[in-house]
């Protein structure tokens, strides 16, 4: 007789569900599908030669190789933390290595923050829609979600409730996943104020921030809060950064920047979770960031800008009446809203089967499963010709 695993599962296991994106990715292995689904960087843009040199050098001398392959400290390697602290400083977020924890992608940062803050029933403020992976990271800790209004004219159910308490507000302020939207300065201040009024922290997910294709960089929520509070050690904002969208997602190198007293606690979480991020990868990422970061940003911004333009152009030419979409200044995503009564999941099935084009249905990104008339289109992986063809196919898949 098989062992009944559900008899030993904790209550929280019930909220560890399968991801729609994950199931989708299985379809995408078919060769002739054009995918607007994952938020996946184009591997043709990876700085392969720079990484090859960096790995080779890290393993070249005996001392360096011994260090690269050995256990290291939980908080992260000093040179990578130094590079990140310098980078943060250049973006008006002065901090020291004591304010940085290296994580396995920003996904791990989100999971740690859920673990350290959320007890069952605690409130977390999230945008409606928001990043699916954040919901997955938090879900294990059984929060209740409330709507974080981030638009200037937020509907009544996204506005603060008198006396509302929350552990944190989670937000992607730049080129949001999934909507592609960027918060205005006023909207940034209002997120900070709402978090403050609720007694909670702010989790700022900056995954896409460096992928700006037009307009001026906006100050981060952390930068704004440092202006008011005086220093990162006084701030309630926790900044989650990553090299996944700039250098390489497969190496799983991200970071949390926050008050040193929070980082001290998170280092213990990291230690209990996986001891530390792989030493060699941290060394290689630090080396490539040092030599190639700016050039790499130029390269990917130019490539993705062309794709964004191709997608916006194709949408305006091919989509039927009743559809509207965001016009992102950066990032990887366009958010499409269809007419009332549209069903994103049903459309996906038809689109994949009949037209060989894929996207992520909007429902995946709403904590309450609403949003069925929406879809997220990513323009990062397909080239401009494929984008044109894919949008044409998508439009064909839409029923009259």
């Amino acid at each position: 007789m098989s062992f009944n695993w559900s008899s030993v599962f904790a209550g929280r296991a019930a909220r560890m569900g399968a991801s729609e994106i994950r199931e989708l990715l299985k379809v995408l292995e078919e060769p002739d599908v054009i995918s607007f689904a994952g938020g996946i960087p184009d591997p043709d843009l990876f700085p392969i030669e720079a990484f090859k040199t960096a790995y080779n050098e890290a393993l070249s001398t005996k001392d360096s190789a011994a260090r690269a392959l050995q256990y290291s400290v939980s908080e992260g390697t000093p040179e990578l933390k130094r590079w990140i602290a310098h980078y943060m400083g250049s973006r008006a977020m002065p901090c020291g290595p004591e304010n940085i924890l290296i994580t396995c992608g920003s996904q791990q940062g989100l999971e740690f923050l859920g673990r350290i803050m959320l007890s069952p029933g605690d409130r977390a403020l999230v945008a409606w829609p928001t990043y699916l992976g954040a919901l997955q990271a938090f879900n294990a800790y059984e929060p209740e979600y409330a709507r974080l209004g981030v638009r200037d004219n937020a509907p009544a159910n996204e506005r603060p409730v008198e006396g509302e308490k929350a552990k944190f507000a989670y937000i992607v302020p730049d080129f949001d996943n999934p909507t592609g939207r960027t918060l205005s300065i006023d909207e940034r201040h209002s997120v900070l104020e709402r978090a403050k009024a609720s007694g909670g922290a702010v989790i700022e997910d900056a995954a896409y921030t460096e992928l700006r294709y037009e307009g001026e960089a906006m100050p981060s929520l952390l930068a704004l809060d440092i202006q008011t509070q005086g220093s990162i050690n006084q701030s309630r904002v926790i900044y989650c950064g990553t090299f996944s969208k700039t250098l390489s997602p497969g190496l799983r190198v991200g970071w949390i920047a926050a008050s040193a007293s929070l980082i001290d606690k998170l280092v213990l979480v990291k230690q209990a979770s996986d001891l530390h991020s792989p030493t060699l990868n941290q060394m290689a990422v630090a080396a490539v960031a040092e030599t190639n970061f700016t050039a790499q940003l130029d390269k990917i911004r130019n490539a993705y800008r062309i794709r964004r333009d191709a997608m916006l152009s194709a949408l305006s030419r091919h989509m039927p009446k009743g559809f509207s979409w965001s016009r992102p200044e950066g990032g990887m995503f366009v958010w499409v809203e269809g007419p009332r009564g549209m069903n994103g999941r049903a459309l996906l099935q038809r689109a994949v089967k009949r037209e060989k084009v894929a996207f992520v249905p909007g429902q995946a990104f709403f904590a309450d499963g609403s949003g069925q008339e929406c879809m997220r289109l990513s323009f990062s992986l397909a080239n401009p010709d494929e984008i044109e063809e894919g949008v044409l196919r998508l439009a064909r898949a839409i029923p009259e």
Copy 2:
């Protein structure tokens, strides 16, 4: 005013404490300290050239590099899972890739298992003493610990209680951390029976299993349970393996092998936690395991056997009356028990300050903080001359 982080912490954060080992490691940076503290492989034994070749090849062709640096599936790369499934089969634990999840070291496996099984107050059976990192991984989920008797003549408080329920029993059956002990066949069966009687799973931590310096390999708990149950899919045993003690700890590559239905659920945990383990490291470890695993085992077994012998010899020549210690057939640790009234922490302070030798006090390994007369000595990092000198120093630090 600084933000008060403890106002947003979950109840579980209270049990995320600092590790004694971690604090110790700071002392060890002083150059002339002989360390018997960490369970740290000797970097002189790392297969550096093989890793250099493997990383170079993974990044050599465009297709391979694009894959190495890209997102990959949460369960792990196919070639590494295949190698592990083959390895498991060769050790009487037949399984397929669907029974394997790649983790960031076995530490991550332990943390996932705590997360998926433990609600506050749930019982976990652990040896007294046991691996400190396992306690840290489980502590966040607020279990109560009960003593798992693993010795043939276990004291009354380590024996099963009538009607006892537990979520799991956790055990390091081979060359235990911290005791160095290896369970007999009868003891293995009795762990399986006790878990079964309590309705719980068994977590088998096989971190040191390949480091055997004498005697015959013992069947794993999973192998024994497969004999009875018919297949891994019917077994209650969850096997945590790692390349940390054989190939490299710094790359953070380990695995969980278990029933496919549990692995399916754990893949979701992995996805929510960090999406996947770094692709490139999995490719490199698979390549080095394929070409170098057996030769590497020969090399490290020979080196560590000599060190174990040096430590046992030095202990018998230098330690004062009233001290006894384990005689491990493998692994990295000798467990020393001092006379009643000895205080391991106080001895450590004196040993480090006066004699420049370090170890881990026994209390770190007891879920209830007992064991103050014990200490764990690791022989893996120091060479035989240093071991001789270190034990001499340790003996000198012991008060009359």
